[in-house]
């Protein structure tokens, strides 16, 4: 790669954006300020949100989940941008789940946004991706785990930083196999997402040599998630629900809607670990990860946001950093140029996951390790040792190129 030295004429711009500028430095710089206008790269964050309940109040997602990750990355991009004459902005728009996303998306685009982070349902995401295709808008999916968005329903103008159900399930399965806990029972909920995650777990069992010895559906009958007397009832209900299961090593729960999974640990008929939507959970990030320089982003995030960083924050951070990295390397703010670079062999982003992260060329899914953790600890990260791949070990997680249904 050729050297990208910053021309001297851009240096005065430095003072426009740096934080904590010492007095002496600011003074020195301000004399020279007022030169070139920086290249502005407008990023939008479109989210479907309403406050959610959870089985435990401790699991209720923070109101700024995801948005905060994007904001921290914008500050990071702007620190780098100050040396290169680039300025990044974030425009956050919030709608309700199931609301039309296209109208607010169009408004964003009209105001000059070229990159949109989508924290939306699969349907909403497809609607805005198709609405923005003609205008060359690039969408980053930071939340939706549906495999179909990367397969049958893949779109050339969509990149995905959120991992898929199959990547998460494969990451979990590899660890269970590494532990030689091979016999699993699967309890899944009655919602569509529960079934998708359950399907991913079945696929993972087949791929890695696990055995699902029994399955059971836990139907959502719409009961209140919390009540004063709930604890006593749950203590009696969950053992009975798990009583008739055959011998197994691990109980897998697929409950994407906070209906039952959190009630399983310590309440099963036989003492077995729970994994999946409760117990040992697979995720793209963990609030306690300090590996691979993670302490640095965790500190930076906590200082700015006053809470720990969760997966959707990291997905959003990685999306904004991907755009920033492309802008740095190409010294450009042109959408198509940046998207081409992200697709190219030269692209890589460092995101505290121990190795360079890249996007799969066949469906634009970010390759990434899967964290396995409980509420407070990272237990392991997958891929596990010994799961080999001819291209990248990260491609042992999720749908691989030979199996893909995506045609971009």
């Amino acid at each position: 790669m050729t050297n990208k030295r910053v021309p001297n004429f851009l240096l005065p711009l430095l003072v426009l954006f740096v934080f904590n500028v010492s007095a002496a430095f600011a003074q020195g710089g301000s004399n020279a300020a007022g030169g070139q206008t920086p290249i502005e790269i407008k990023i939008g964050y479109l989210r479907a949100y309403e406050p959610e309940l959870a089985l435990s109040v401790m699991d209720i997602p923070p109101a700024d989940a995801g948005v905060a990750g994007a904001q921290v990355a914008i500050v990071d991009n702007n620190t780098t941008g100050s040396f290169l004459g680039q300025k990044f902005t974030l425009d956050v728009v919030q709608i309700k789940p199931n609301e039309d996303a296209v109208e607010p998306f169009n408004q964003m685009v009209q105001s000059g946004v070229k990159f949109v982070l989508a924290d939306l349902s699969a349907e909403q995401l497809l609607a805005i991706a198709d609405a923005g295709r003609e205008q060359g808008i690039i969408v980053f999916n930071v939340a939706s785990r549906e495999d179909a968005l990367r397969e049958e329903q893949c779109r050339a103008n969509v990149f995905h930083t959120a991992p898929t159900y199959s990547m998460l399930a494969d990451g979990l399965a590899q660890y269970l196999i590494w532990k030689q806990w091979r016999n699993w029972v699967l309890i899944y909920g009655s919602h569509e997402e529960d079934k998708l995650f359950a399907e991913a777990l079945r696929r993972a069992a087949e791929r890695f040599g696990g055995s699902i010895v029994a399955e059971k559906e836990f139907e959502d009958t719409g009961t209140a998630r919390r009540s004063d007397t709930g604890v006593t009832q749950i203590q009696r209900l969950m053992p009975v629900f798990t009583q008739d299961l055959p011998a197994h090593d691990v109980l897998l729960a697929a409950d994407e809607s906070e209906v039952f999974a959190g009630y399983l640990p310590y309440r099963t008929w036989v003492p077995r670990p729970v994994a999946g939507s409760a117990g040992l959970r697979p995720s793209s990030w963990h609030p306690a990860s300090e590996q691979w320089g993670g302490t640095q982003i965790q500190n930076r995030f906590e200082k700015a946001v006053k809470r720990r960083m969760i997966s959707v924050d990291m997905n959003a951070w990685t999306a904004v950093r991907s755009i920033g990295e492309a802008a740095t390397r190409t010294q450009s703010g042109e959408t198509e140029k940046l998207a081409e670079f992200i697709r190219s062999d030269d692209f890589q982003v460092a995101a505290f996951r121990g190795q360079r992260l890249t996007y799969r060329k066949w469906n634009q899914q970010l390759r990434q390790p899967v964290f396995l953790g409980d509420g407070s600890q990272v237990v392991s990260t997958s891929p596990q040792e010994g799961f080999l791949h001819q291209v990248s070990e990260l491609d042992t997680l999720g749908v691989d190129q030979p199996e893909t249904a995506c045609q971009l």
Partner: protein, 323 residues
């Protein structure tokens, strides 16, 4: 040096091999919150000092009297008196100090503050902070030109080597390098600065005159994926002919011919090799191996690993006393 002459004579008599002089190597143990002192002749730990939390960057005054240590989680630089091995003071490092470098005259310490995107300049004698210099995101590597005029800081998320004029404290050049630049090292004549990129997997050789990358070194180890080759610490021999690069989870130190930039050898050391330091006589280069909790002595003449020594929990940095 003089006081070691009798020792030298004894070891000459005892062995026909080239004698090693006894120096003290100080190793910071990131997780152990300690510093291990290793005798470079016997290659044994002679003392372990309890220090502040998360010790990482470590260096020593040019007269060998004081070891400076970044106690990252305590937001301070600790001063260890090498005569007593006691902590005798602290320096106002700014938050989360990780790596630092002393000016050639030993009067100033330049510290990278990872959490605040700053380089802090400290007057060692008055123990006062002189100035904070804003740099890129997650500043880490710190290299000082032999003439003391130029400081190079690397920022891990911005991916730049920032060239800073030590008189004006202003950035004069920003050179874009590969992902997660970890370390900057000038060659002895000051004509080049070598910058390692951990995630990028490369070492950029930057011409100090033009401030442009003149060569990019890549690494290839049979049986290892390129992702697992992650260059961190870099040291160049006093005669300028050989460079050593610690390759992180590749568990090897690369030896590079500085005239051709070709890797001549990969030396297998311990797990997750982080930082490197030469003994003053240039007989050994010592690597810290974070996961295997040891340091490895590499013989500079043969580039063979000669001895691994178990130290504290997660050794991070290493410095050898000059006398």
């Amino acid at each position: 040096m003089r006081r070691y002459l009798p020792l030298l004579a004894i070891s000459l008599m005892a062995s026909t091999a080239t004698p090693a002089l006894a120096y003290k190597a100080y190793i910071s143990n990131e997780r152990g919150n300690s510093v291990s002192i290793v005798d470079t002749e016997t290659m044994e730990v002679i003392e372990t000092i309890n220090v502040g939390q998360r010790p990482r960057g470590i260096t020593i005054s040019h007269d060998g009297k004081y070891v400076y240590l970044c106690a990252s989680d305590d937001d301070t630089v600790e001063i260890i008196d090498t005569a007593t091995n006691k902590i005798v003071g602290t320096l106002p490092s700014g938050p989360d100090p990780e790596l630092f470098v002393l000016s050639p005259d030993g009067k100033r310490l330049y510290v990278a503050n990872e959490d605040d995107n700053l380089v802090t300049v400290i007057d060692v004698e008055t123990k006062r902070m002189i100035v904070e210099i804003p740099v890129g995101v997650e500043p880490e590597g710190m290299g000082m030109s032999p003439d003391g005029k130029t400081l190079v800081n690397t920022s891990e998320t911005t991916n730049m080597a920032h060239f800073i004029d030590t008189e004006t404290h202003e950035i004069t050049h920003n050179v874009l390098v590969d992902s997660r630049p970890r370390f900057a090292e000038f060659n002895p004549d000051g004509s080049e600065v070598w910058v390692s990129a951990e995630i990028g997997g490369t070492v950029s050789v930057i011409d100090n005159e033009s401030r442009e990358i003149k060569h990019k070194i890549t690494f290839e180890i049979p049986g290892l994926r390129t992702e697992s080759i992650q260059p961190v610490g870099v040291r160049i021999s006093e005669d300028g002919t050989k460079a050593y690069v610690a390759l992180g989870p590749a568990n090897r130190v690369a030896v590079i011919d500085t005239s051709t930039y070709e890797v001549t050898k990969y030396v297998l050391v311990g797990q997750r090799v982080w930082q490197l330091a030469f003994t003053p006589d240039q007989k050994y280069i010592i690597s810290t191996n974070g996961i295997s909790n040891d340091v490895t002595f590499i013989d500079v003449a043969t580039d063979e690993p000669v001895q691994s020594v178990t130290v504290g929990d997660q050794p991070w940095g290493v410095v050898v006393a000059p006398n």
